[in-house]
């Protein structure tokens, strides 16, 4: 799978690729910037050391020959023999102290050092041995050669000392330098091994710590389940937030379907109520005309009055249905909600055994509302709260300002809202009923003259929604119920 820019799409493949590239780069950098220059430096040191040794040898010979000349000794004489012997002794000491091997040849006679290697082995490498000049040019790396004898590798350089016709070969075992070079190479291989180990460990770590958690989260998402990863903090955080987002989405879906359902019901109910209202008008007319034709005290007047009363109730019901379906006409004005709450609260929550607690923010914002309809909503909710506690109790009204952020978890646009809460301490609403409570004709109360029509809360929801607000309920059995209303603020702040 290849992603954008020719890179593999999977993050793991990208990581492996990057790790291998990094390892290769570090390895190459280590080799080019450290090992190679060090190797070259060792080579330079070897050649410089050999050149220096040859120069020292040459100087020793020159000095001792010069001493003879200064003493006025020329040619073969006992003094020359002694000075040559002294020189050979000094060369021997020099070789020992510098861990070198020096061969001094006088013609075919070996004066100093071991016979091995034969001069023929060194000569081609050393160049023109018969010249009197120093054969090792100061800047010539070729002047030092590498030869093998006695099973060991040696660096070799040669010079001549023509006054005594000596040929001098300086040999140094390459062991020390070789081991330094070997150590360098070992260091390189160790670095390569460490880098490979690093890549391997990186892959293992990536697989266990990153790829697996991501795969688990993705697998849950693919199966439509909420991810429930537990482990590394970052993935746990992501998993929890994804799960929360999914839950919120579910709620939104439910609300949306609920809304759709209510709208459909409202449309249907509105149509029926409208037609029914027309029929009721005709019914009212007929009853009125019948009443006009009947003399007072006529036995038929009573049934007609009963029929008129039923028609009144039917008209009230259709009015409610129309309000639910269309909301009626909103007459919104900026209102002091605090006053409305206090007024309705005290009106409804009265009587023996009932207590009202008001917690209304002093700076409670105003809201543009239809006072009549919102008053009905509050009235309805407070009445429900009171009825939830037949033997009395405390009802709380809490009103505060709230600024909702973008993701408030509510089906509301971000902005300033008044949050009104009506809380009772009654038996609460069973969890099974909570999701149905705003549906039309759902009621936990028995139906009858003193019973509700089942339209109260659905109408409340309709009114609040039409005001651009939101109503929700929270309840715990035995602990009471809280209705929370959000209304858009008119002039926040």
């Amino acid at each position: 799978m290849i992603g954008g820019g020719g890179l593999p799409a999977r993050i793991s493949s990208r990581y492996y690729l990057a790790s291998i590239l990094a390892a290769l780069l570090i390895g190459a950098g280590f080799y080019l910037l450290l090992l190679k220059p060090l190797d070259h430096f060792i080579g330079t040191v070897i050649h410089a050391s050999m050149r220096e040794a040859v120069a020292d040898v040459q100087r020793l010979c020159e000095y001792n020959y010069g001493a003879l000349l200064r003493a006025g000794v020329v040619g073969d004489s006992p003094a020359t023999r002694i000075q040559q012997a002294v020189t050979l002794g000094l060369l021997e000491d020099y070789a020992a102290s510098r861990q070198l091997r020096i061969q001094v040849w006088d013609g075919d006679e070996l004066l100093l050092g071991r016979r091995e290697p034969a001069p023929a082995e060194v000569l081609p490498a050393a160049g023109r041995l018969l010249a009197t000049a120093l054969l090792v040019a100061p800047d010539s790396r070729q002047a030092v050669s590498k030869i093998d004898f006695a099973g060991r590798s040696h660096y070799a350089a040669a010079t001549t000392f023509s006054p005594w016709e000596w040929r001098l070969v300086v040999l140094k075992e390459s062991g020390l330098y070789q081991s330094a070079r070997q150590r360098l190479h070992q260091a390189y291989y160790a670095t390569i091994a460490l880098l490979l180990a690093w890549v391997l460990l990186g892959i293992i770590f990536f697989k266990r710590q990153i790829e697996k958690p991501i795969a688990r989260i993705i697998s849950s998402l693919r199966q439509g389940e909420k991810p429930a990863y537990r482990g590394a903090y970052e993935f746990e955080f992501l998993s929890d937030h994804l799960a929360a987002a999914m839950a919120e989405q579910e709620q939104l879906h439910q609300r949306f379907f609920q809304q759709q359902k209510l709208e459909s019901i409202g449309l249907l109910a509105g149509g029926i109520a409208h037609d029914f209202n027309n029929l009721l008008a005709a019914l009212y007319g007929q009853i009125s005309m019948a009443n006009l034709d009947l003399p007072p005290g006529h036995p038929a007047r009573h049934p007609l009055e009963l029929a008129e009363q039923s028609a009144d109730r039917a008209r009230s019901l259709t009015a409610q249905l129309l309000t639910y379906s269309t909301g009626g006409t909103l007459n919104r004005r900026i209102q002091d909600i605090a006053g409305l709450l206090t007024e309705i609260g005290h009106f409804v929550i009265s009587g023996e055994g009932y207590q009202l607690r008001l917690h209304i923010a002093d700076d409670l914002w105003e809201s543009a509302i239809d006072r009549q309809q919102i008053g009905n909503v509050l009235h309805n909710l407070l009445l429900n709260a009171k009825e939830a506690m037949p033997s009395g109790g405390t009802v709380e009204i809490v009103a505060a300002n709230r600024e909702l952020p973008t993701s408030s978890g509510l089906p509301l646009a971000p902005g300033c809202y008044l949050r009104l809460q009506i809380r009772d301490y009654g038996p609460g609403i069973p969890a099974a009923n909570l999701s149905l409570i705003f549906e039309p004709y759902f009621s936990s109360k028995p139906r009858g003259a003193t019973k509700g029509t089942g339209l109260g809360l659905s109408i409340c929801q309709s009114v609040i929604t039409r005001h651009g607000g939101h109503i929700e309920v929270a309840s715990q059995p035995g602990r009471g119920t809280t209705f929370t209303i959000y209304l858009p603020a008119a002039a926040p702040g």
Partner: protein, 402 residues
């Protein structure tokens, strides 16, 4: 969720704690050392060595013991080393390398502060593996065999001219006097073997002819066959690479055979009083080697003159070059300790490797292997009961009698 992270943090904290816990310990260690050092200041510095106080090297060993005791007296008189008194333990190794090895093992077990070398190359070679292993720097005040510095040891430093160069001055003299035919006899022990090897090499370089060379058993008592073989080979010069007893025995063999080469030279013996005591008048004419301290009886420096006088006063004997070497070893060690400022053996080793001073036996400066590289020897000859310097020419107190 944070389990792994917490473990790592705990591990790091644990390691950090260890480090921090170690600091007071280090501090305590440092304080203990400082306290120990303070105590050390009151403790004497213990130096130990073995010497051949009996056996074949006894004359040289006893001579060295006298010089070491004189040095011990003088160094303590001067305030000791690093402000601490010095005690010198000298044990008799009976001229036996195995005995010396036991003694030095015991010294090391007792953790003496410093060691000095025994007499004779073979004995020194026997103890070197031990002293090297325990990093004791050793001044070879009784050994000159080149072999000592060919083993790769790093803690042994020469005082004498190396054995391989012992005879160079003599051979130089032979070239000057055109004496070309040599017979070389040498004992089966390191110093003698090395001296002979050096002689043969120098002879070749100087164009001298070796007409006879022979190694002899250390137990050999009859040297007349060697003398006869040299005579038959037409040798003009006989060189004995050996010790006092062998030098005496070869001289007696010559008298027995009735043959006298033009030059009879012995690497050790002719300069020693015991040589004269044993040979009497026959000691006359024998060539030998002296170190720098003897310039025909004239002290080359005030220090060597003072030592010679005090030795004479103390023991009623004149010091030989072994005595000079022993006293010089003490002085060189004292100089190295003073320069190092401690008895730390590795640092002391480094100081000795680079030290360049004039001791009572000559200049002390070693090469990269620890071999003495600056001292040189003199050729002496007993003439009318007196030891004369006959070579190098510039230091001659008398012409050689050939």
């Amino acid at each position: 969720m944070l389990k792994i992270g917490q473990n790592w943090v705990l591990l790091l904290l644990f390691l950090l704690g260890l480090q921090l816990a170690g600091l007071p310990l280090l501090g305590a260690d440092f304080e203990a050392r400082a306290a120990a050092a303070a105590d050390d200041r009151r403790e004497p510095i213990r130096i130990a060595l073995s010497l051949a106080l009996s056996g074949k090297y006894a004359p040289m060993g006893r001579s060295q013991r006298r010089a070491f005791r004189l040095w011990e007296r003088d160094i303590n008189f001067r305030g000791g080393l690093l402000g601490r008194p010095v005690t010198l333990t000298i044990e008799d190794d009976r001229s036996r390398p195995t005995r010396a090895r036991k003694l030095y093992r015991r010294f090391i077990e007792k953790e003496v502060d410093l060691l000095l070398a025994p007499f004779a190359s073979e004995t020194t070679l026997a103890i070197l593996p031990l002293t090297e292993r325990h990093h004791y720097p050793l001044l070879a005040s009784g050994a000159a065999a080149d072999e000592i510095w060919e083993q790769g040891y790093g803690y042994v430093f020469g005082i004498f001219t190396p054995a391989g160069k012992f005879t160079f001055s003599l051979l130089e003299m032979l070239v000057a006097y055109q004496l070309d035919n040599l017979a070389v006899f040498y004992s089966q022990e390191p110093f003698s073997r090395n001296a002979a090897r050096g002689t043969l090499r120098w002879a070749r370089w100087l164009g001298l002819e070796v007409v006879r060379k022979q190694e002899f058993d250390r137990q050999r008592s009859d040297f007349t066959p060697l003398v006869s073989s040299a005579r038959r080979a037409g040798a003009e010069v006989v060189i004995m690479a050996g010790h006092l007893g062998e030098a005496v025995a070869l001289r007696r063999a010559m008298a027995e055979v009735g043959w006298q080469p033009r030059v009879y030279y012995a690497t050790q013996g002719p300069g020693h009083d015991a040589f004269v005591e044993r040979l009497g008048a026959a000691a006359d004419g024998v060539f030998g080697t002296e170190q720098w301290q003897y310039l025909g009886g004239v002290a080359p420096s005030r220090a060597s003159g003072r030592f010679a006088r005090e030795y004479q006063q103390q023991y009623d004997k004149s010091p030989d070059y072994f005595a000079f070497a022993a006293y010089a070893a003490g002085d060189i060690l004292a100089a190295a300790v003073a320069e190092t400022g401690s008895l730390a053996r590795r640092q002391l080793r480094d100081t000795l490797a680079s030290l360049d001073i004039q001791s009572i036996i000559g200049r002390f400066r070693v090469d990269g292997r620890g071999r003495q590289s600056r001292n040189f020897s003199l050729v002496t000859q007993r003439q009318d009961g007196r030891l004369e310097v006959v070579w190098p020419e510039s230091l001659q107190t008398a012409e050689p009698r050939l």
